[in-house]
Amino acid sequence: MTAMSPRTTTGAGPAAAWLVAGLAAIGFVWCGLLPRLLRYGPVKRHVDLMEQLDVNPAAMYYTELDRLPLRPEWITRRLTLWPTPPQPQR
């Protein structure tokens, strides 16, 4: 059974400072910048459209979609696995 291997970085002080700086940057971007960008015209239009259509663009697989893809009725009715060509009219 495998496990992770421990990793050490040089200098505990600077390492912690880099971590704090990284966390501060995440806080600034996620709680300050992104909420502001959400109100920007094209972005807002895209997000509003997705919410209105009830679409989850972040779904990795079809089972994560808010609605499972269902074939439109016309596909179910008219499309067969091996469609036969239309018969000539007499």
């Binding site: 059974m1 495998t2 496990a3 992770m4 291997s5 421990p6 990793r7 050490t8 970085t9 505990a12 390492a15 912690a16 880099w18 971590l19 990284g22 966390l23 995440i26 996620w30 709680c31 992104l34 909420p35 960008l37 959400l38 972005v43 895209h46 997000v47 459209l49 997705m50 919410e51 259509l53 679409v55 989850n56 663009p57 972040a58 779904a59 990795m60 697989y61 079809y62 089972t63 994560e64 979609l65 609605r67 499972l68 893809p69 269902l70 074939r71 439109p72 016309w74 596909i75 008219r78 499309l79 067969t80 696995l81 091996w82 469609p83 239309p86």
Partner: protein
Amino acid sequence: MALPHSGPTRPRFQLHEDAVAMAIGFFIVAMALAVTWLGRPHDDPTSREKYPKGWPTPLAATIDKPQTWADSPTEALVDKKGKSVVKAVVLGAGWVVLIGIAATVLGGGSPLPVLPGAVTIAGLACGAYFLSSQKLIHYYNLEYPLWALAVGLLIGNTVGVPRWLARAPSGEFLIKTGLVIFGAEVLFGRLLELGLPGLMTSWLVTPVVLVTTYWFGVHVMRIPSRSLCMVISADMSVCGVSAAIATAAACRAKKEELSLAIGLSLVFTVLMMVAMPPFIVWSDMDQIVGGAWLGGTIDATGAVVAAGESLGKEAGAVAATVKMIQNSMIGIIAFAVAVYWAGWVERDGSGPRASLAAEAWSRFPRFILGFLAISLAVSWLFSMGPAEALWVDGTTTGFTSRLRGWLFCAGFVCMGLQTNFRELAPFLASGRPLVLYVGGQALNLLLTFLMASLTFGWLFKKVIEP
């Protein structure tokens, strides 16, 4: 997970990592199906209209992830109906810890030393989910693996990985277990969903693009890592991150290679999701052909639906269904890649010919068999009738897909923790993976357009016209 035991104190009961992943995966899928069956609705249990996502499963209350939020992360703790998801999110993280502990015990280790690391990894996965559920990030399809990797990279490359944290489950194990559980979502019946035009668009183009891109990367661009070429080819031609994860596990790609392939896929998915629908409208392309083109080319499933629905309902339905067919090809492709890798790429031809098969078998990633076995069993159950289909859909959408998401997220945190920025630099500096992705995607766009036009726009046009 406990470090491997060695020496005279080796315990009597110790399973291989792949066997542990399979045992846990089988148990979870069987348990989830049983619980959903016990809680099945007695009121019209075969009605797809009544249960569009399958039978509601009692297990859904035990797992969820943070919801989308706009201004404050606290919004993520309440769902669309205003109900708190705190308990379900905490329990979701708890499943990761529980699986880590179970794996340690099955692997012959002691669970207590693993606990602090497993809890921390689950907490970091929760943090990554919070980052990915910000509305702008969410609706532009920048999926959680990216943020899980980023969280792990930030910690691993600053304060490092202390010994207590290193005892946590390894990323590879979590992803293998997630993949075995993922088998329940890969239904072979879905491959025939759109009939012959769907088969021609997905079955012919996808393997051709995958093999051509891989061959081009290895023999023309001479990228030294074959596994990197394979992961990029699979995520670009099949279905993005999920295909990258499955093929990376099948060909034992390095974590840096998987991270790079996922990054490329997500960036191009955003660009294609935004740019392709306006192009289809501008070029006055047939909606159905446009939908099939989107479904066959955009990597991520959610982005395909987003782009298709922005064109119209018909295009959205065709796009989603073509992508669903590609989704269902993951099982076959992962198995084929595992066989090819074990039998040809990693082959040592110096031994006697008779031992080649045995040698290939010794290298074969066994958990892929678990993934395939669950996929076949659940596909068979799904095909039994409408009630069974709702049973499977309810189990997967309500529980196993969420648990698989948590395991992947935690796995990517671990991979980020173990990845050195310096190891990523050579891949980024050469620029060749980017060229391979762009070249492969260009071929994919061209071939899928030709095949969608041939099938949906010409050969079967009369048949599919509403």
